[in-house]
Symmetry: C2
Subunit: 233 residues, 2 copies
DNA sequence: ACCTGAACACCGTTCAAGT
DNA sequence: ACCTGAACACCGTTCAAGT
C-alpha cells in the first residue's frame, strides 16, 4: 500500500496537494491571525511548505488572492433572519458586513479598489436589493442604491479603522488628526469650519453611521433617476 | 567667494539644500509623470541625488509624504467662483476635487485611508460646508454632511479608476468585472439581481455620480441628526 | 550636530531548468 | 506536462559610523 496515510515521512501534520481552495483557506488563517498585510504570496507559500512560484499556478496575483479571501469571508456573514421588519434586517446586514470589514481593515481597503464580485458578494447584493424592494423603493432607484449603501459601509470601515502599524499605539486613528485640524481651524481662512467646529467633530462613529444610512435611504427612495440612462455599460 | 553659484562642480542643474518643501515638490513631479506608485522614498531620494535615509530627517514615513503631496495638489483645485447658484458651485467644487483624485487614483486610495487634513484640505472642507449652509441646510446636518459628500467623491475616484498596472490594458476596470457578475447572476441564488440586472448595470459613471450627489443632498437636508449626540469625542 | 552608506528584513513576479 | 529554485528588480526603515 502506498496511500498517503501509510507513508512514514510526515514532516508536517499533512501536506495536501496544492489547490486554489487550499491556498485560499491557508491565507484566511494568516489574515485572521496576523492581518492582511502579512498575507503575502511568499508568506502563504511558506505556510504551505512550497515556494511562491507554485502559487502562481492557481492564483494570478496578490490582488486576486485577497479578493478570494474577502468573498470567502463574506460567505460567513450573510445573516438573513426573516419575519422582522425590512429596516431592521437591512441594518443587521449592513452592520454584519461592516463588522467584517472593520475586523479586517486591509480587506476593506482592497474592497474599495477591487469591487467584490464573487458568488458570496453577489448574494449580499441580492439581499440588500431585495430589502430595498421590500421597502417599496422604485426598482431603478433600488438598483443604483445598493452600490451606495455597500460602498458607504466599505468606505467607513476603511477610513475609521486603525492602520494596524504593528504595535504603534501612538499612531492613533487618522480621523483624530482630521478632528484636531478642524478644531484648531483658523477663523480667517476657514470661517465656516471655525464657526461650526463642535458640530463637525460631534457624535460617535456609530451615531454617524446610523445617520448616514438614514440619509442614504431617504435620498435613494426620494430621488428619481434620470429618465434616459444609457443601459448596460 | 564661496557662494553656491560660484562653485564649479555643478553635476546637476542645481542641488538645493534638502527641505520638506523641496522633497514634496520633487515627489509631486514624480507623481505627475509616473504615478503615485513610483513615488517611493528610494525613488524620491534618487531624484534628489541622495540616499533614502536623508528623507527621514524631514518626513516621518511614506504615508506622510503622500499626504503632503495630496494636500499640495488640493491647493491647486479650490475653485470658488462667486455669484453663481450654490448648487452649481457645489457641483463644480466636487467635480474639481473628483477630477484631481481621478487623475491620481493612488492619491484617492490613500485619501480613503488617511483623512486629508492639511491646510488646503481644511479650506476645501470650509468651502463645501459654506455652500451647504448657503443652501439653507440646518448647521448640524451640514457639518455631518460634508464628510459624506467628500467621502463619496473620494470613494468613487478610488473605485472607478484603473489600477494603472503599468501597461496592462487587458486588466480592465474592476467595475466591469462586477457588472459582468451581476449580468450573469443565477436566478436561483440571486433572484432580485437576476430580475433587475439591467437596472443594476445601467447608466454611465457620470450619470450615477450626479444621481448620488442628488441623493446625498436630499438626504442630508431632510434627515435630522439625533437630538443628543456626544460632543467633541 | 548633522547627515547618510550600508544593511536588515522584507516584497511580487518571472522563467529557465529540473522531474 | 507539471512544478519550482533561484534570480530580478524592487520596497521601507534603521542605525552605526562618518564629517
Amino acid at each position: 500500500m502506498t496511500t498517503a496515510s501509510s507513508k512514514s515521512r510526515r514532516e508536517r501534520p499533512s501536506k495536501p496537494a496544492l489547490s486554489r481552495e487550499w491556498i485560499v483557506a491557508e491565507t484566511i488563517k494568516i489574515v485572521r491571525d496576523e492581518g492582511l498585510e502579512k498575507a503575502t504570496m511568499r508568506r502563504v507559500a511558506q505556510a504551505l511548505d512550497t515556494g511562491p512560484a507554485s502559487l502562481y499556478v492557481y492564483i494570478a496575483n496578490t490582488t486576486e488572492l485577497h479578493a478570494a479571501v474577502l468573498d470567502e469571508l463574506i460567505g460567513t456573514v450573510d445573516l438573513d433572519r426573516g419575519s422582522i421588519p425590512w429596516r431592521r434586517r437591512l441594518d443587521d446586514v449592513l452592520a454584519g458586513y461592516g463588522s467584517l470589514l472593520f475586523a479586517y481593515p486591509g480587506l476593506a481597503r482592497s474592497a474599495l479598489v477591487a469591487y467584490p464580485h464573487g458568488p458570496n458578494a453577489i448574494r449580499l447584493y441580492d439581499l440588500v436589493l431585495g430589502l430595498l424592494l421590500e421597502a417599496g423603493t422604485e426598482a431603478d432607484r433600488a438598483a443604483w442604491g445598493v452600490d451606495l449603501l455597500l460602498g458607504y459601509v466599505t468606505a467607513i470601515a476603511a477610513e475609521h479603522s486603525e492602520p494596524v502599524t504593528d504595535l504603534d499605539i501612538t499612531a492613533g486613528r487618522e480621523i483624530d488628526a482630521l478632528f484636531n485640524a478642524l478644531r484648531s481651524a483658523d477663523a480667517a481662512t476657514a470661517p465656516h469650519v471655525a464657526a461650526h467646529a463642535d458640530a463637525l467633530v460631534s457624535g460617535t462613529g456609530g451615531e454617524r453611521v446610523r445617520w448616514a444610512i438614514d440619509v442614504l435611504l431617504r435620498g435613494i427612495t426620494a430621488t428619481p433617476i434620470p429618465p434616459e440612462v444609457s443601459d448596460g455599460r
